[in-house]
């Protein structure tokens, strides 16, 4: 084993008897081990100014207090919002209680029964002597004055020549 290999053993903190024996006879490896120990000591000797510790603790405590304040603010905000909503609900209920709304028409919902087809209307048998005379007046609104349309006159002759039915119908279809 050469010195670079022994140095890896030294850096790896080997506790072998062979290494101890090598260190007793090799000055180069002893220097290497001494240098490593000096480096380790240098890393350990550094001290930190006490003010640096105080600064960290102060910043941590300030941050925690700030978070607590923010947490309390959110809690109070939530409580205030809940109270406002509750008051709003109560006021709405009270208002409805004092001024009840008019009852709404009840619409019954019911399944529409199936409409059976009505039988075809029976056409009356018109006899030859049943003659109908139509005297058409103005049919459309533009044909005459709108405020006093001329009524439609329907004369119906019956079997009795002395009986004539006269039916006056206005333009809307209502009997006069």
């Amino acid at each position: 084993m050469n010195c670079p290999e022994w140095e890896r053993e030294i850096a790896g903190e080997s506790e072998s008897v062979a290494l101890e024996e090598h260190l007793q006879v090799c000055g180069q490896c002893r220097d290497f081990a001494r240098e490593l120990e000096l480096n380790r000591a240098a890393l350990r000797t550094g001290e930190i100014h006490p003010a640096a510790f105080d600064a960290v603790r102060l910043r941590v405590l300030d941050e925690i207090r700030a978070k607590k304040r923010r947490g309390a603010w959110w809690a109070w905000s939530a409580v205030a919002a809940a109270v406002c909503i509750a008051m709003l609900c109560v006021s709405i209920v009270l208002q409805n209680w004092k001024n009840p709304a008019p009852p709404k028409p009840v619409v019954a919902t019911k399944n529409t029964p199936k409409i059976e087809r009505a039988p075809a209307p029976v056409q009356p048998i018109m006899k030859a002597h049943h003659r109908v005379y139509h005297k058409f007046g103005p049919v459309t609104a533009s044909a005459g004055p709108a405020h006093n349309p001329e009524p439609l006159v329907v004369k119906m002759l019956t079997n009795d020549p002395n009986v004539i039915i006269i039916w006056l119908v206005d333009q809307k279809g209502d009997s006069l």
Binding site: R8, A11, G12, A42, T45, H49, I64
Partner: protein, 192 residues
């Protein structure tokens, strides 16, 4: 299971301290932070290489601890949990910072208590050298060597924190130490 879990007595945190923190007692949480601040901030500083980012990472770590106090399965596992979260946050910060230009080291100067000024200067210089060298390491090698050499955890504990096998971690540490050594050698040959 590694044996680096703190007991309540080791950490100096009575069970009541954690219970109070869970109930929202910020003084109790401040005490918990004091107990772990060196562990968290030093780890973050060594991984990230500058105090500003390290403080941000430590802040985020403690905020996550506060949020997770009720979810921690065992308060005695807090130390390992903190290491794991600190390393993860530092890796995130490091990736984000990778898009920016690397800045020189800033922050408080390291305090050396050594009596010999020349030796102290050498220590500071070596410390800065190693810090710079750490930045050149890949993410996993850097985390492994920081946890092993800075925090003094065992290979087994490091493996558990990083979610790797002991063999992998031992290899990562060995390679990382070799790289640090070569980096300092090159610097010393160039400047001395």
């Amino acid at each position: 299971m590694a044996d680096f879990r703190l007991t309540a007595d080791d950490a100096g945190q009575p069970a009541g301290l954690i219970a109070r923190a869970k109930l929202g007692d910020l003084d109790a949480f401040d005490q918990i932070m004091r107990l772990h601040q060196k562990q968290v901030l030093m780890t973050a500083l060594r991984i990230l290489g500058n105090m500003e980012d390290a403080q941000d990472a430590a802040q985020e770590t403690f905020l996550r601890l506060y949020k997770s106090l009720n979810r921690l399965p065992d308060v005695l596992e807090m130390k390992g949990w903190l290491y794991r979260v600190t390393v993860n946050i530092c890796n995130d910060v490091h990736r984000q910072r990778g898009r920016r230009k690397t800045e020189p080291l800033t922050g408080p100067e390291p305090v050396s208590s050594h009596a010999d000024p020349e030796k102290a200067w050498n220590e500071v210089e070596r410390e800065q050298l190693v810090e710079i060298a750490l930045k050149t390491l890949p993410e996993k090698e850097r985390a492994a060597v920081v946890l092993r050499d800075v925090q003094g955890l065992s290979t087994r504990e490091v493996a558990e924190i990083l979610g790797s096998s002991e063999v992998t971690v031992r290899s990562q540490i060995s390679v990382a130490r070799g790289k640090l050594k070569r980096f300092t050698d090159r610097y010393l040959r160039k400047h001395l």
